[in-house]
């Protein structure tokens, strides 16, 4: 089995984090985003994974080599010299994807969910047509492209309706597909969109089915959604009684959904949670209040600080009695001074903040 992960460009939407770290390597729930996907793909029997990128970050290769060994998979990087959209990269990686006749998975790298690849594969085989799109149900379908089924058929797709004004359904494309290699025959090597060109054509021939996703789904390509996605992910771990979570019997855990790396140090009289991830080698001081936040590896939150709805970047420091909130994102190696307030600040790497950021702002 094979898979292609659409990584794309520099991940500008997730800046300032992606100024110093390629998006697939950013830790989501204390695990690099790409690793969630590789792990799930390997578990479903995938042996060959293509990363479709349009830049070449050196640092990626080191991690990919490690994962190849860890999961016994081959990982290749397919680089677009010009952006090829969402379908072009499939054609570019045709050689790998046609390695055998089995269908291949396609994943958007920004999407997080429980990756039900085995069930998806079983379903795909059961209907016998060329392609399956994973769909998720949303509350407000008018913001998305909605999938409409053939009359009297539960899964065969009849058409796509982009941003429907009237309710036609609430299933939207979740950005995960399973396609037969024959689909590659219909893709040209040029900038082209899988959603707007390839799929409508498959629909015409009745070759495309939908597969309902169970559980959470989130596009975590930008900080606000990254935080929301983290909450969903942690809730799913709680639901599964995951042993990775910090037990709620710990006196500092408040409201559950707390994931702390064993190498992190937590001070006295803290109140942590709900929805907090604390990465490796993080140091949390005394009397710190954390909720709905992500502390990336090597960061430090000093005594009595208060952090909510914030991503604290790698090796950053939050000062004593500082207060961060409202989707504040600290890049790599940022220092927030003692007693400083940051409201929705995006702080670029290596900055030191010594005056309050009262209203949301990008600090260059």
């Amino acid at each position: 089995m094979k898979a292609l992960i659409l990584v794309g460009g520099f991940g500008t939407r997730l800046r300032p984090l992606t100024l110093t770290m390629p998006k697939p390597l950013v830790e989501f729930g204390n695990k690099r985003m790409i690793l969630h996907q590789i792990e799930a793909l390997a578990a479903a029997g995938v042996t060959d994974i293509v990363l479709a990128v349009n830049y070449r970050p050196e640092i990626m290769e080191k991690y990919l080599a490690e994962y190849e060994e860890q999961f016994g998979v081959n990982i290749t990087i397919s680089i677009e010299t010009e952006p090829l959209g969402t379908a072009g990269p499939l054609k570019l990686a045709e050689k790998t994807l046609r390695k055998d006749d089995s269908p291949f998975f396609v994943l958007n790298s920004d999407v997080t969910c429980e990756y039900p690849f085995a069930e998806l594969l079983a379903f795909h085989k059961s209907h016998g047509d060329e392609g399956t799109i994973v769909v998720t149900k949303v509350e407000e379908p008018s913001k998305y492209g909605v999938i409409v089924h053939k009359p009297n058929h539960p899964t065969r797709i009849d058409r796509f309706v982009e941003k429907p004004v009237e309710f036609v359904g609430n299933r939207i494309n979740a950005g995960i597909y399973l396609l037969n290699t024959s689909v590659l025959d219909r893709i040209e090597l040029r900038p082209t969109s899988i959603e707007q060109e390839t799929f409508p054509e498959m629909v015409k021939r009745g070759q495309l089915h939908s597969f309902d996703l169970e559980g959470y789904w989130m596009d975590v390509g930008q900080p606000k959604d990254f935080l929301t996605g983290t909450c969903l992910y942690l809730s799913s771990l709680t639901k599964k009684n995951s042993p990775e979570l910090t037990p709620v019997t710990q006196p500092f855990v408040h409201g559950g959904n707390v994931l702390i790396d064993p190498s992190a140090k937590i001070g006295k009289n803290c109140r942590i949670g709900p929805n907090v991830t604390i990465g490796p080698d993080v140091v949390v001081g005394d009397g710190v209040r954390l909720q709905r936040c992500v502390l990336l590896s090597g960061s430090k939150v000093k005594d009595h600080a208060w952090v909510k709805s914030t991503i604290v970047g790698w090796n950053s420091t939050v000062g004593r009695w500082a207060r961060l909130e409202n989707v504040t994102v600290l890049g790599d190696d940022v220092t927030i001074g003692d007693e400083i307030y940051v409201n929705g600040g995006s702080i670029l790497p290596h900055k030191t903040i010594k005056t309050n950021v009262d209203v949301p702002a990008i600090i260059m």
Partner: protein
Amino acid sequence: MSLQIPHRDKPNGVGGATKAVILVGGASRGTRFRPLSLDVPKPLFDVAGHPIIWHCLTAIDKVPSIQEVYLIGYYDESVFRDFIKDAASEFPNLSIKYLREYQALGTAGGLYHFRDAILKGRPERIFVLNSDVCCSFPLNEMLKLFQDKDAEAVILGTRVSEDAASNFGCIVSDAHTRRVLHYVEKPESHISNLINCGVYLFSTEAIFPSIRTAIKRRADRPSRLVSYRSSENLESSFMVDDDDDDENRKNEVIRLEQDILGDMADSKQFFVYETKDFWRQIKTAGSAIPANALYLQKAWQNDSPELATPSINIIPPVYIHPSATVHPTAKLGPNVSIGPRVTIGAGARVKESIVLEDSEIKHDACVLYSIIGWNSRVGAWARVEGTPTPVGSHHTSIIKNGVKVQAITILGKECGVGDEIRVQNCVCLPFKELKRDVANEVIM
């Protein structure tokens, strides 16, 4: 046997007694000091651990020739009773009396009304201090200038920035002789950046005749307008209603600044002592924060034993009332005053703030550039924050996103801030519970 009052030593061979008057105003004034003046008369508000007028008395007590001090104002008699009792034991060399105006007479009108009491014992000079200023009160230096120049009046002056000057009384002086050549209250245009600090020393033989002349001129003038020195004064001057004409004649509202000082510059031996030391007005409630800082810094420079001993968690200067409870992990200072029976929890942070009596700051809370009213509570991990005003600024409001807001956050009496709540640049009237984050608001 003669009825001689025991006099203290008089240095420099200064003869004759000096008296002091502190002008304290009344309850219907000082509205700009709300919400704090809703619960305590402004002159009794604690700054650096003591009522505002206590700082005046401390300076007066250092002038050896003064034995009698009058507080003149139109507050109820009972208001200053306890303060005077306490002050009597703290300043045994001073006799302190409150003289109550039956109605607001103006700063000069009040003096004149009580001239018999003030002139009793034939004092040669009187100091007149406005209670709403915060400064080092260099009274002995003023007295020396008074004697050196054989003056009839000495005014305390300080230099401010040119754009700030026109908010105050402006003094034009002879740089060499220090003689006051011209005085204008709040001029429209720039006249001088040497301004009136609201502290005066008058010869009794000069001041009372001057006030009498002003009253006479008032009575003779048929005009509806009492004084008109500038457009600013047009608004603030006493407007005489046709219906109440007689009433207002009787009112005798005569103010030193508008009605007396200008004439003195023309006709009297009037000099200015220019202080290089700190000076601030205490008008708005927020101005208590710079005043608190300046008085604490003065106490720190004078090695006052009242201040808390510096340590890793005490950044001087800090005043902590002996009855307050401060957790050893709480960090205080600089420029913090903690009132009686206040509780400061573990890991709390207080900086550039006044915490008034019976208040509680819970663990890990942060209080910056704020005044926490009597019996208020600040919850765990809450943040109560004002904004520092520039050094040397005489304003207590700032412009944020194009809107004028109070720089200092003020919680009135018995307010509550919930756990983890943030309050920034707000003024909160008494008895309010804050359960959501608030910024740049006045909370009724």
